[in-house]
């Protein structure tokens, strides 16, 4: 009976999630590209073998991890600060919250174009400012060693509001008298944050981290528009590499393999986060 009630949900999960996954898994065992006229021909583990020895895949994996790790950390940190700020009784709280959410509401491509203009060398506002201060324009998007930082910056700008809002919702579930009780016990703001707010906010922090980690590991459109993966592929993500192989090279077999590699990475890291939570809850019991 309960299985029957669950059936629609299971069906939805199956169609929306499992089916594409199975299809990718199947495709990754085939050569399916322009060279085969898009007809899938079984090629054993050739795609996987290629993936293991594909230096570009591993370089993109490291670049994706770097992007996700740094932007996730910054977003959690800034998101928490923003949430704590918005949690204070402010005048026009509704309007302030709406304004803060604006970057999140903006379509990624529009946002990325905006950042491309902002970081333009030498006409972007940022470089004009630098020039106005007597400096020489900086190649924000043309310096392989640092360009990834600016993709992180754009991502942080866009996604911090989302994290902040999620954490704000979490803050609002904490009864105010808990903090008042600790205040009466003589705890300072940092002690209250560390000993009370953060532990109670942990489930929300974890949720935000899970969401953002999965999203950041799959980053595509932001990078595609902002840098196109350049310069010298220094900002290329796994998502972009999978896209290149699929939509540009029409090599769907290998694209599916890259996609699955990316999926395994997401799975590994998110389940790592979940295990971390279990361990953390265990120590509290």
């Amino acid at each position: 009976m309960s299985l029957l009630l669950l059936a629609p949900a299971l069906l939805l999960v199956g169609v929306v999630f499992l089916w594409p996954l199975l299809r990718y898994a199947w495709l990754s065992g085939h050569a399916a590209s322009v060279l085969t006229g898009l007809v899938p021909l079984a090629n054993g583990g050739a795609n996987w073998q290629r993936l293991l020895s594909d230096g570009r895949f591993w370089q993109d994996t490291l670049q994706t991890l770097r992007f996700a790790g740094v932007s996730l950390s910054l977003e959690l940190l800034l998101g928490l600060a923003l949430a704590l700020l918005l949690h204070q009784p402010l005048r026009q709280r509704g309007a302030v919250r709406a304004a803060v959410l604006l970057p999140w509401a903006l379509p990624t491509t529009v946002m990325a174009l905006g950042w491309r203009w902002l970081l333009n060398d030498p006409y972007g506002p940022l470089n004009r400012l630098i020039q106005g201060l007597g400096g020489s324009p900086y190649g924000f998007l043309s310096t392989p060693a640092t360009t990834w930082l600016f993709t992180v910056l754009a991502d942080v700008w866009k996604s911090t509001p989302f994290v902040a809002l999620l954490l704000l919702a979490g803050l609002q579930t904490i009864p105010p008298e808990l903090e008042e009780a600790l205040l009466l016990e003589g705890a300072g703001p940092l002690q209250r944050l560390w000993r009370l707010t953060l532990p109670l906010l942990a489930p929300y922090l974890l949720l935000a981290a899970l969401f953002r980690l999965a999203q950041a590991l799959g980053v595509f459109d932001l990078i595609q528009v902002l840098t196109g993966g350049g310069p010298a592929s220094s900002t290329e993500s796994l998502g972009l590499y999978a896209y290149l192989n699929g939509m540009r090279f029409l090599d769907f077999g290998y694209s599916a393999t890259v996609m699955l590699g990316m999926f395994l990475l997401v799975l590994l890291l998110t389940s790592g986060l979940l295990l971390l939570r279990r361990g953390w809850q265990g120590t509290l019991r």
Partner: protein, 431 residues
């Protein structure tokens, strides 16, 4: 029937019967006519759709049985490709005709998405077009595409800063350095250096100008990349040298067509490499350089012929079209001389027909015509292979590293050579 029909005198009954029969016949005829009316769906980037809108309206008025329905796609070449490929992958294509970039043809043909045109249009469909415009439409023994307009790389120069455009690479450097030293311009030469297809186009032109080739076709052998040749390394060196010397801004690693146009259009550069469309933007009233811009062939080393990368747009017939004959008819009309003339006069589109290219009466509307004619004579096609996107991507990666990361040219080209060889080898091995 008689029981239901009210009693009427005989003549009245006859009259009613005649009127009824007449109406039935009329309705049936109209339905038939509508059934025979065929709508041909065309997907093209929005600017092309805008430019051809009036002509399409005229076509739809003049033709009863065939109607054209234009879908406006995104302006960006890759975005249009993504849209087209997504709908093609879903199977039943919602369009009959697709306006394609020249580099897509072998890929789409190999994917089995295109219908060969010669059975519908005959073997002579390209006859009468400039040779530079004819190239790139046939692949593997079939004709897949007819060009709507020609496109090629051009050197834009400032007529107020020099008497004549440079012809060699050294001349360009000397003039640029002189002007920069005088403070007349901030930059000498701007071109497309962002990691994208435009960079491959720029490099191909320089490569040819240094006497090199992208792929080497030896008789009886599969084509091999020739990116590690002394000419190719010299070409790469020249490009990175422009950046090192400050003739080209370091920011070139982020520059696509629009950014180049922005810098040159602001009067801050002596030279620019761009496509013909830039002319209209630069001569528009209010442009900072209006009346001070000339167009010339790209530069080469002495003794070599400067080449212009060919980048045309053309129509292909998609497999699965329900009305291939009517679609072919529309395709022939779109690429006809008459439409080409209108588009050249109204929008400055480069015609593909020799008769138009050599028509002096068009020069008033299209001052660039002699330069375009000249360019088409030396148009250089990018490698005609289904794996072109991979080859270009491998080259862009290394060139981008060369320009942004101070990678030595010899190293960058050695890597590009090795990766290109692997791509071609894999392509040769697959059954």
């Amino acid at each position: 029937m008689t029981g239901w029909f009210p009693p009427l005198p005989n003549p009245a009954r006859r009259l009613i019967a005649v009127v009824l029969a007449f109406w039935l016949a009329l309705a049936g005829g109209l339905a038939l006519a509508r059934a025979r009316r065929v709508t041909v769906g065309v997907l093209m980037p929005a600017p092309f759709a805008d430019a051809t809108a009036e002509l399409v309206q005229q076509f739809n008025r003049d033709h009863r049985s065939v109607q054209i329905a234009v879908s406006r796609g995104p302006l960006d070449t890759e975005a249009l490709s993504d849209l087209a490929i997504s709908s093609l992958l879903l199977g039943d294509a919602p369009y009959d005709l697709l306006l394609m970039d020249v580099t897509w043809t072998p890929k789409y043909a190999a994917a089995g998405w295109l219908e060969p045109l010669e059975p519908l249009l005959g073997d002579q469909a390209l006859a009468g077009m400039a040779p530079g415009a004819q190239a790139g439409n046939a692949f593997a023994g079939h004709l897949w595409r007819l060009p709507l307009l020609a496109d090629m790389g051009l050197l834009y120069w400032r007529t107020d800063l020099m008497a004549a455009p440079p012809r060699t690479t050294t001349e360009l450097e000397t003039i640029a350095r002189g002007l920069q030293r005088r403070g007349a311009v901030s930059w000498g030469y701007v071109w497309q250096g962002r990691q994208y297809e435009g960079l491959s186009c720029v490099f191909l032109e320089v490569l040819r100008g240094f006497g090199g080739q992208w792929l080497q076709h030896d008789a009886g052998q599969a084509p091999q990349p020739a990116l590690q040749s002394p000419e190719a390394i010299a070409a790469a060196n020249w490009l990175s040298g422009l950046v090192r010397q400050g003739i080209t801004p370091r920011a070139v690693a982020t520059v696509s067509e629009a950014e180049a146009l922005q810098i040159f259009g602001a009067g801050e550069a002596a030279f620019m490499r761009n496509w013909p469309y830039a002319w209209r933007e630069l001569t528009r009233p209010g442009s900072a350089v209006a009346g001070r811009v000339g167009v010339a062939p790209l530069v080469a080393v002495p003794g070599e012929q400067a080449a212009a990368t060919q980048g045309s747009w053309g129509f292909s017939l998609l497999k699965g079209s329900r009305h291939p004959r009517e679609a072919a008819e529309v395709l022939r009309w779109f690429t006809s001389e008459a439409v080409g003339r209108q588009l050249a006069i109204r929008y400055g589109y480069t015609p593909v027909w020799t008769s138009l290219l050599e028509d002096p009466s068009l020069e008033a509307a299209l001052p660039l015509l002699p330069a375009l004619r000249q360019g088409l004579l030396h148009a250089e096609l990018r490698p005609l292979t289904p794996v072109y996107a991979q080859l270009s991507d491998a080259l862009q990666r290394q060139l981008s590293a060369l320009l942004s990361d101070d990678q030595p040219a010899a190293l960058a080209m050695a890597r590009a050579q090795r990766q290109s060889a692997l791509i071609l080898q894999a392509a040769g091995e697959t059954p």
